[in-house]
């Protein structure tokens, strides 16, 4: 009965922070200690006996089943890692109690979602995540933030309504909302007429939250406007919650083809916009999209290695994307802008450790060995059969490298010490998994998963991809073709959700 403690401890700590506002910061530390203890228990050999439970002792038909599978373990680890880094990052700032409360609820909701095995429970937690991140994005009350987060709320709410319709269709035909029961019903009659409709509604609804083009057109604005620590949380962790739900749905419905197509659109679209973006935080937000593309293509491949590779890449992406966002925030504090040109021209004002963190994050995200981006991408490259997948993954890698090549002048001299960098401890927390990913991955997913990373063909391929990306950057910056940004307004976003739903439905119906 230990599983409900994961989310509940944070909800209670959030309530405690409301009651004793003066000691709100202390609840962050308590929550962190509780999480570390719980995750340690979850990883201990005794954990298999608490791996699955129905909350409150209800029957399986109407109860909410919580399960601690490898997906949940992976994301719990990521949650604790990011929690630690973000708390260190925020520690020297003056935090308002309401900020702490929202942060507690955010972590609690994330933990509840990764454990949940019940569709309606998933709906409620996704809505809770929407509300909490809506408030956190606009926490500084700047107009840009308010508009970005209002757009997010409207689009996410429509998406969740679509998800609720899917939940209703599923319940009408299965009579239960537990994932196991739905899986049995689908397996018993895979040709049933309700399956494409329910799957399309559920996938379209959750895609709005998962950072998938063309459903998540709110993402670049919201993730780049949010305060740095919140961006790190949203991009590293909260966006993965949609992916978690998609992984669970892919275990129930036949979604491989849909996920591959969505992955191709998301990855290539995100990379193209990232290449033309001139603002560091906005570029990072677009790269959240492109890296989600990797995860989706990996999920679409649907074999054992790819599934583990997806989990490993989710963990790796969380660590380096959070590092990049935190370092971008520190660079903004030093320079007063996140425009890349401006950062480069006043790079002497950025603290050295922040520049080192940006460099490490860049090396990891473009997939250079021996950092975690490469180690986690290698199983995906290895498992992706067929030339379409291979070409897609290579194109994605080239796009990523081409857009991060813009940052290279940032790392040129002079290397003088400027002030002291108050948040470097949080960089260390995130840099550890980036550098030491091989043993972590081996311990989490077994020794077979690290074999592709040891393959020198894949290593050379990754280096060649990065080199090609750099060449492409040299070519691209001479061109004046830039994709339009008006796509990311409210009405196109709304329209794209509906259109995407129809497309997914037709794909499932006919394919």
């Amino acid at each position: 009965m230990i599983l409900p403690l994961f989310p509940l401890s944070h909800i209670f700590l959030g309530l405690a922070a409301i009651a004793w506002r003066a000691s709100a910061r202390a609840t962050l530390i308590i929550g962190l200690i509780v999480d570390i203890a719980l995750v340690a228990i979850a990883f201990s050999p005794a954990a298999h006996c608490l791996s699955s439970t129905v909350a409150g002792g209800w029957t399986d038909v109407i109860g909410i089943r919580l399960a601690l599978d490898s997906l949940a373990l992976d994301l719990l680890l990521l949650t604790v890692l990011l929690e630690l880094a973000v708390i260190i990052y925020l520690w020297r700032q003056r935090l308002r109690p309401s900020f702490v409360i929202l942060l507690q609820f955010l972590v609690g909701a994330v933990m509840a979602l990764v454990l949940s095995q019940d569709l309606f429970n998933v709906y409620v937690i996704l809505e809770l995540l929407t509300l909490v991140s809506f408030l956190l994005v606009a926490y500084d009350r700047r107009t840009i933030q308010i508009w970005a987060s209002l757009k997010y709320l409207i689009l996410a709410s429509v998406g969740m309504s679509i998800f609720l319709l899917g939940v209703a269709v599923t319940y009408a035909n299965v009579g239960s909302l537990g994932l196991a029961a739905i899986q049995q019903a689908v397996a018993a009659n895979p040709q049933a007429g309700w399956i494409p409709l329910a799957a399309a509604l559920l996938v379209a609804g959750v895609s709005v939250k998962a950072g998938i083009l063309t459903f998540s057109l709110w993402l670049p604005d919201a993730h780049s406007a949010a305060p740095a620590a919140i961006s790190a949380f949203l991009s590293g962790l909260v966006i993965k919650m949609g992916i978690v739900v998609l992984i669970r749905l892919a275990g129930v419905f036949p979604l491989a083809l849909v996920l591959q197509i969505l992955g191709a659109i998301t990855g290539i679209g995100g990379a193209i916009y990232a290449m033309s973006s001139t603002d560091l935080k906005r570029m990072l937000a677009f790269h959240t999209l492109s890296q989600i593309g990797y995860l989706l293509i990996g999920m679409g491949v649907a074999n054992e290695t790819a599934a583990r590779g997806v989990l490993a890449y989710a963990l790796a992406h969380g660590s380096f994307k959070a590092l990049l966002f935190l370092a971008a925030g520190a660079a903004y504090d030093a320079v007063g802008s996140t425009e890349i040109a401006e950062l480069i021209s006043s790079r002497h004002r950025i603290p050295l450790r922040t520049r080192a963190a940006l460099l490490l994050g860049t090396l990891a995200i473009v997939g250079l060995p021996p950092f975690d981006g490469y180690i986690a991408k290698a199983p995906l490259l290895d498992a992706a059969h067929g030339w379409t997948n291979q070409i897609l993954l290579l194109l994605l890698g080239i796009g990523t490298a081409a857009s991060f090549a813009k940052l290279l002048p940032l790392f040129k001299g002079p290397y003088r010490r400027v002030g002291n960098d108050p948040v470097w401890e949080s960089y260390v927390v995130l840099a550890l998994p980036i550098v030491l990913f091989l043993p972590i991955e081996r311990a989490l997913f077994g020794p077979a998963i690290i074999l592709p990373a040891m393959n020198w063909v894949i290593a050379l391929e990754s280096i060649a991809v990065v080199a090609t990306g750099w060449l492409m950057h040299r070519v691209y910056r001479r061109l004046s073709v830039r994709p339009s940004e008006s796509l990311f307004r409210l009405e196109p976003g709304m329209f794209a959700i509906l259109l995407g739903f129809v497309a997914i439905y037709l794909l499932l119906r006919l394919g």
């Binding site: 109407i62 700032q93 003056r94 935090l95 308002r96 900020f99 309606f120 709906y123 409620v124 809505e127 809770l128 929407t130 509300l131 809506f134 408030l135 606009a138 500084d140 009350r141 700047r142 107009t143 840009i144 308010i146 508009w147 987060s149 209002l150 709320l153 409207i154 709410s157 429509v158 309504s161 679509i162 609720l164 319709l165 939940v167 209703a168 269709v169 319940y171 009408a172 305060p227 603002d279 504090d333 030093a334 320079v335 007063g336 802008s337 425009e339 401006e342 307004r489 409210l490 009405e491 709304m494 329209f495 509906l498």
Partner: protein, 139 residues
């Protein structure tokens, strides 16, 4: 009138709501349409397991009569509360926007925010960040 059931009404409401969300530019009307979309989800959920002859699932029901499935009706309570919270919070944010721009017109606000974003980039480049940065005081 066999076609006139909760599910068909819900689908019509959903279509109307999303159309208004796309077509109309006024933010308050957009939020009303959002309420419509959310309500359509709720209506759909409670009417999927219901037929006109069914009794409400409240004891004591008439013996031998069919009873509507109580499970969606229990679920729908959370959905209603969530939708209330979403509408309330988004109205607060619309109020903040109206205070600053004196308009609820979506296009105008979008235009103003975009110019502000462009201005911000330029101002930060010229002004010393320790003076121009308002982030410290709002935290």
């Amino acid at each position: 009138m066999g076609w006139l059931s909760g599910t068909t009404v819900a689908m019509v409401l959903f279509a109307v709501g999303t159309t208004v969300l796309i077509v109309r530019k006024d933010l308050v009307i957009k939020l009303l349409a959002l309420g419509l979309v959310n309500s359509s989800g709720i209506l759909f959920l409670i009417s999927i397991r219901f037929q006109p002859q069914m009794e409400a699932p409240i004891l004591p029901a008439k013996v031998g009569s069919a009873i509507a499935d109580p499970f969606p009706q229990a679920l729908v309570l959370s959905a209603i509360v969530i939708n209330f919270a979403i509408l309330a919070l988004s109205l607060v944010f619309v109020m903040l926007l109206v205070e600053r721009y004196h308009s609820t017109d979506c296009e105008r606000i979008e235009h103003a925010v975009e110019t502000e974003k462009a201005m911000l980039g330029r101002r930060d480049r010229t002004v010393n960040p320790s003076e121009g940065d308002t982030r410290e005081e709002t935290r």
